[in-house]
């Protein structure tokens, strides 16, 4: 019974009214600081928009891509954001299925993260297109030209997978927060009242509603898990299905999924700390929970490292001299600094999570989580760029191509966009699931009672 002598995930004597009060406080009129940060996000986003407009009117050339560097930061960042999106699903869906109830206080914002990062990723697919205004050619719909997209193309699978994943995770997020909307409705005034009334869909908390709710929630959760796995496997097959050296690797799909969960968890840690600080959620986002998330992250980090090593090994001992060539270039060529940085951030830094003392220190956790995310972003870039600069065909090798400010600007902007959405979310939707926390408290008390009786 060692969990007894451990610090508790959540206080069991906390009053339900208290929970409502604390959480609803996060929806109150924002402090000035909020507007400052908000303005910052808007500024970042508009930088991105500016760059995109420039690129849209002048042509992709301004991104300083070339032959062979046909794809650039866009695709890399696209994968990064898709990866991010796995956090929510992991916490809410997977942990929900396996009844890890410590997830309850933190899954809501994780899900939001899923949705928003997917929306961001979607944008990058668009930004990447040479003829954005013709994107609808990729949509399979019966049209006057009698033409259809090419269903063989991984890119098309991508588009479809992402769309499905996005829509279902939105549903998941929404369904999951209906009871909370009801609570908000009951406590809100003015336009917020109507707003929440609409969203709450007349939730009264009757037994029947609860029963249906549970079924619905579970169903969507189950539906979401395979999606989450498939979506990143498909993103992986964008590369694995192609035949370029360094991409044409069977282990890519699991590798990508692991990477996704990894970056997802890292991002959760970051936002966990941020929210805990801004909304004073110490009561709910407690250190033990952070500790659990951190340990989970560490585990995934090790899985990722393992898969990484597998990939290197398979390339190194494989028959394909070209891929080996690329691998060597990654380690020694012009991209070496970034590549080693990625190894460091991705495989070395996580060991900090293995240290209990560090796990207990918010500052360190913050830094670590940011480093992890950096590492994961670099990983994606190191998948895309080196293969181009050193592919099959030596005549087109290009080692001094560097993304132009346009590319950097749009990547930068995407973070603004994400922040923007997230801040709006925090002010409209309770970022801690009230009803589930109540459940959690209730279960814990029961559990303790039993153990005391025993």
């Amino acid at each position: 019974m060692d969990h007894l002598n451990k610090e508790k995930d959540i206080r069991e004597d906390i009053a339900w009214a208290q929970i409502n009060k604390d959480v609803l406080r996060s929806l109150e009129k924002p402090r000035p600081m909020f507007w400052v940060l908000f303005g910052l996000a808007v500024a970042m986003f508009s930088v991105g928009v500016g760059c995109e407009i420039y690129q849209y009117r002048t042509g992709m050339g301004v991104a300083n891509m070339n032959n062979p560097h046909m794809w650039g930061l866009y695709i890399a960042t696209f994968i990064f954001w898709i990866g991010m999106s796995h956090s929510g699903t992991l916490l809410s869906a997977i942990l929900h299925i396996i009844h890890a109830d410590w997830r309850k206080p933190i899954y809501r914002f994780a899900e939001a993260m899923t949705t928003f990062s997917l929306m961001t990723a979607g944008l990058f697919v668009m930004v990447h297109l040479g003829r954005l205004w013709q994107f609808y050619y990729a949509v399979p719909y019966p049209n006057e030209r009698w033409t259809w997209p090419n269903f063989q193309s991984p890119l098309l699978w991508d588009a479809m997978a992402i769309f499905t994943y996005l829509s279902s995770s939105i549903i998941f997020l929404y369904v999951g927060s209906i009871p909370d909307f009801a609570i908000c409705r009951d406590n809100a005034k003015g336009w917020r009242k109507t707003f929440y009334t609409v969203l709450a869909l007349g939730w009264m908390g009757t037994d029947r509603q609860w029963r249906n709710f549970r079924v619905a929630y579970l169903t969507v959760a189950c539906f979401l898990i395979p999606l989450a796995v498939s979506v990143h496997s498909i993103v992986a097959s964008d590369f694995a299905m192609s035949q370029q050296p360094g991409w044409h690797v069977t282990s890519f799909p699991p590798y990508f999924v692991a990477g996704a969960l990894y970056s997802g968890c890292a991002a959760i840690i970051t936002l966990f700390i941020v929210l805990r600080y801004t909304f004073r959620f110490e009561e709910y986002m407690t250190m033990p929970i952070l500790d659990k998330v951190a340990r989970l992250t560490f585990a995934i980090a090790m899985v990722w490292t393992y898969l990484n090593l597998i990939e290197f090994a398979s390339v190194w001992y494989g028959h394909d001299p070209y891929s080996k060539d690329v691998l060597i270039q990654k380690a020694t060529g012009p991209f070496a600094p970034f590549w080693w940085m990625m190894i460091f951030c991705g495989s070395i830094v996580p060991f900090a999570l293995a240290v209990k003392k560090f796990r207990a220190n918010l500052t360190i956790m913050m830094i670590v989580s940011l480093l992890l995310n950096l590492g994961m972003w670099l990983e994606r870039w190191m998948i895309v760029a080196p293969t181009y600069s050193h592919g099959y065909y030596p005549w087109t090798w290009d080692h001094d191509q560097w993304p132009s400010f346009v590319q950097w600007g749009i990547v930068f902007g995407s973070f603004g966009w994400f922040g923007l959405l997230f801040m709006i979310f925090c002010k409209l939707v309770p970022s801690v699931s009230m009803y589930e926390v109540k459940e959690m408290v209730y279960h814990r008390t029961l559990a303790n009672k039993h153990s005391r009786e025993a």
Partner: protein, 198 residues
């Protein structure tokens, strides 16, 4: 693909556009933009096709002489018009003919307006279609031209009666057509993108 069939049955122009439009608005828009309705064009001289092709029954290829040899059917050179009209005293004083003579004296070509204009990236060959549907199948010329140009006999200046849009072309290329007037062998139009897209 069955859907396509359905659309095909739903037929050309409006009906199909409606069907598509119901299925997806974007498509509806495209369809509409593609199939522009019959439009009358202001020409420098209001040339009466009905008289020439209809009353006189002149073979289309007599004036549009390049159609059998070239991708473009060609607007008849001024010389062609004069070839006949110099000797037709009866109509010399008609206003249109007067105009014609003016151009001739100035030795400058008539700035006809294009009626059946395809996008510049389309590689369409009159030659092939005329060869197949007129010479090989030995149909009357009007019949060979009608599917695209409509019943010119009934028009004064030519009017665009078909959408001349991709789907419209494909709908005909997908059908089987007889090789010639003797054998029962049929074949459909080419379907490589590059056959029409340049």
């Amino acid at each position: 693909m069955n859907l396509n069939r359905f659309l095909c049955i739903a037929g050309q122009g409006a009906a199909r556009r409606l069907a598509v439009g119901l299925l997806l608005t974007t498509a509806g828009v495209l369809g509409a933009s593609a199939a522009t309705a019959a439009s009358k064009v202001e020409q420098p001289i209001e040339f009466p096709h009905d008289t020439h092709a209809g009353k006189m029954g002149i073979n289309c290829l007599y004036c549009h002489t390049y159609a059998r040899r070239s991708a473009v059917s060609g607007i008849p050179p001024l010389q062609k018009c004069m070839g006949c009209h110099q000797n037709i005293e009866s109509v010399k004083d008609r206003p249109r003919i007067k105009q014609l003579f003016e151009y001739w004296e100035k030795k400058e070509p008539i700035p006809w307006k294009k009626v059946h204009d395809l996008p510049e990236f389309v590689r369409f060959s009159h030659e092939r279609h005329v060869q197949r549907f007129y010479f090989k199948q030995e149909r009357p010329i009007q019949e060979a031209c009608m599917p695209c140009h409509g019943d010119v006999k009934g028009m004064t200046v030519a009017e665009k009666v078909q959408p001349l849009s991709m789907g419209w072309c494909v709908s005909c290329h997908e059908q089987d057509h007889r090789i010639d007037n003797v054998s029962a062998k049929t074949s459909n139009g080419p379907n490589d993108c590059w056959q029409c897209h340049k």
